[in-house]
Amino acid sequence: MKRLIVLAFALALIGAALATPKDTYVFLQNSTFDSLDPVQAYDGASIGVVENVYETLYTFKKGTPGEYTPTLATSYEVTNNGLSYVYHLRKGVKFHSGNPMTCKDVKYSVQRNLVTMPGDSGAWIFGVLTGYGNDAMTEAKKALGDNASQADIDKFLDAYWKKIEDAVVCDDMYTVRFNLSHPDVAFFAKMLFTGAAVVDSKWAIAHGAWSGTEKDWKDWIGVDLRTGYLHNHASGTGPYKLVKWDGNTVIAEAFDGYWGGEPAIKKVLVQGVEEEATRLEALRRGDADRVDVSNWATINAKVKQMSGVKVWSDSSWSPASAHVVFFNFDVQGENNPYTGSGKLDGNGIPHDFFTDINVRKAFAYCIDQDAIFNDLFEGHGAWYTMALPTTWPGYDPTIPIRKLDLDKAEEYFKKAWGGKVWDKGFKLTITYNAGNTERQTVAEMIKANVESLNPKFKIDVVPLQWSDYLKAARAKSLPIWPLGWGADYADPDNFIHPFYHSEGSLAKRQSFKNPEFDKMIEYARTLVKPEQQQERYDIYKKIGRMAYDILPNVPYPLQAPFIVTRDNLKGVYYNSMISGDFYWKDISK
């Protein structure tokens, strides 16, 4: 008898793994959450939860990042020559706390961004409402200097508060008006960012958040919201309410008062599991419905062998980012370690080495785009003709791509700098951020191909820490470097301006200036009306075509997106602007 009990106990312990129930969705991801406060959340994992618990005024249509559908608003209009956006709010919407959603909550939520503006958040996106991209104290220091008197600072802060107050106005209980400091063609798209998700103001204030008035706004300037109540508690209007955030696990359940109807999945668990092998085995055993997988190589080697598992992918899917190799038109820095002697003497390059289009073209023909696509991404890549996500309006797929052609590269190197480059040779350093295999491969590929053309061509490939890499790029000291850019909001201006405008955050680092580009981009920014959008997109296509000839940078393929789930999960789609790729409410089993 005793033996039987021991045997039964052992069998119970061994037992088969429990598959997740039909109404439950379990997602094991590779990272943990930074903050569930909509203002502070600026990483994919956190936003992946926030976007299901809170809602913005409009949201993305399934699978199409360039198309939108109303959620907490029912319609909107642009007035006052693009300086005002008026949203008409949906009536009868309730927060998880039971409080009704009104204009007051929308105003509170957006103004909370403007008041706090934590430096490491995405609150700067709404800076167009005040004309400031930093928190009030940082702006005061910038404007008045470090030695300003308290009276001057107070005066500055008063004016700053006035701008916050005027920026969001409730015309009535269900009409909200946003007044911009200057026209911004991307404002509508910016309002889709989860920073503008509507928070239950009554509930938040009751739990010690900013009061929503001038009385205590100064106490909240630049505050790290990770120490606040909204950091790990939530009351939104979304289809799911937060039950628990326990370190690296978020548990949510369907909100039965959701205005859009109750979703099929009633319970959700999202957990950060850093070890990929652990995630994969949990998927295999049915302990997880979806897991993060690092790359296609792992999918081909391990995931495809698993039964009951589905890999979702589609040739039309493309990430909301673009990666390019930048050329610096005016390398800065005395004794720059990346440009050797600083002269075209065979041991370095001059600061303006890349201003010669022949040099840029020669380098472009040394990038083996097919190898990146086929070897690095195992044939699952997305081609890029310009620095804009391929599914976004304004992208032109007809622009040709320069692929590996060493004959052409040699031809252009021979023409470069009147033949001096070929005769004397050069030496430079390509850097990448340590640990980034993709950028390392691109850098080493350029080195191998360029050096194969002429023994006088010497390239060093050097990894730098992320912070040092960006610091060097910002200091304009890197001659040539691969880097990517991910979308902040779903408007092509978020790519076209940084990459192609002389004041763009990326183009500035390479001292790239093209007056024609600047003119076109600035004009496009004035096209704020819905009926002008096609014209705007055509301008971006033209810029893409011109960029092929001017060649300020070389876009290269990215890994094609994929989603790995158990095969009983239905309704999965991919939208590059949704952090979790799809909303939980749209799936079922």
Binding site: T20, D43, L470
Partner: protein, 341 residues
């Protein structure tokens, strides 16, 4: 003896102080930018490194940084963990039970298996069994913990579908979060029993088997080797020969006479064993998705979270120093000839 205990206890704060100096000092070897970059979760946040440096005083010198930390600690505030996104003390309160549950479930098997196999090897000296056990011990001792852990996850859990990973099945975690389940101790096995939830008890126990097994294999190998050589020493001594000459049975000679004395070096090993076990737990929690203090510390080390690392090192320092003190006390109990002045 009491004087000795008091003196040794007073050394503990000094050990913790030196440990904290080392951690803060090591962090200073990195530039403020490198430390600030560790705060960043998305590429876009890296644009605001300067603000992060100012906010967290990362550009201040060693003494200022140490003073900032120490002043808060003296007020009872261990700081905010960037890894768990909550106060360090809250995280320790939440995660310590998980690590304790794992450590306790592994500790007794580690000692029993190590001592038992060591005794068998010694009593079968140079025989096939001894040779085989010695090979097993060498393999166990030299096997990296993560290799053993990954193998158990991939083969036993993934391949055979036995036991499980995590502390509980995910669907059960959801049920416990949304239903009524009181967490008396934070250890799911005990809390399952206290709540009358046998299903929780069984699932929690089931999920302890693989991580505990990994620990037992890796840690008990060391004990086995020490026990074997210690037992061989004792078996060669005069009092054992005398016992045999008296005609005592082999079992009585081994377990009544030699065994107790052979245990003394094993107790000496308890300190290092604890260290190896903590090191093992750090890796094992990470691989078995077992959210305890080890997993937290491993992530903190990877992301240069100084506040978390300091708290973890302080805690481990305290545990190790206390364990060594207990070992010294245990000597007296096992061998009454030992006296501390």
């Amino acid at each position: 003896m009491l004087n000795y205990i008091i003196r040794r206890s007073l050394q503990i704060p000094m050990v913790l102080f030196v440990l904290s100096l080392i951690i803060v000092g090591l962090m200073q070897l990195l530039t403020p930018q490198q430390r600030a970059a560790a705060f960043v979760k998305s590429d876009k946040q890296i644009e605001h490194l300067d603000q992060i440096i100012k906010k967290y005083h990362l550009d201040e010198g060693f003494l200022v940084q140490y003073e900032l930390w120490a002043r808060e600690v003296l007020r009872g505030n261990l700081g905010f963990s960037r890894i768990s996104k909550e106060p360090v003390t809250t995280t320790i309160r939440k995660r310590l039970p998980a690590s304790m549950e794992l450590a306790l479930s592994a500790f007794i098997p580690i000692v029993l298996v190590g001592v038992w196999l060591g005794t068998i090897a010694a009593t079968h000296r140079d025989g096939i069994l001894d040779q085989a056990l010695r090979v097993v011990a060498i393999i166990g001792w030299s096997l990296p913990t993560f290799v053993m852990a990954i193998w158990l996850v991939a083969w036993v859990y993934g391949g055979l579908g036995w036991f499980g990973i995590g502390r509980l099945p995910n669907s059960m975690l959801i049920d416990l979060a949304t239903g009524h389940f009181h967490r008396y101790t934070g250890m799911y096995t005990l809390d399952g029993l206290l709540n009358g939830r046998w299903d929780v008890f069984f699932q929690a126990l089931k999920r302890l088997v693989l991580p505990a097994t990994a620990l037992v294999i890796v840690v008990s190998a060391g004990i086995m080797r020490v026990m074997r050589s210690s037992m061989l020493d004792e078996l060669g001594k005069d009092y054992v020969r005398t016992a045999r000459a008296k005609g005592l049975m082999q079992k009585a000679v081994i377990y009544k006479h030699a065994w107790r004395n052979a245990l003394i070096p094993v107790i000496t090993m308890a300190g290092p064993m604890l260290g190896r076990m903590i090191g093992g737990i750090v890796v094992i929690e990470l691989i078995f998705n077992f959210p305890g203090l080890g997993e937290w510390a491993a992530k903190a080390a990877l992301q240069l979270d100084m506040t978390t690392l300091l708290a973890f090192v302080m805690l481990i320092g305290l545990i190790m120093a206390s364990a060594n003190l207990l070992v010294d006390i245990a000597y007296v109990i096992v061998d009454p000839r030992i006296r501390y002045e």
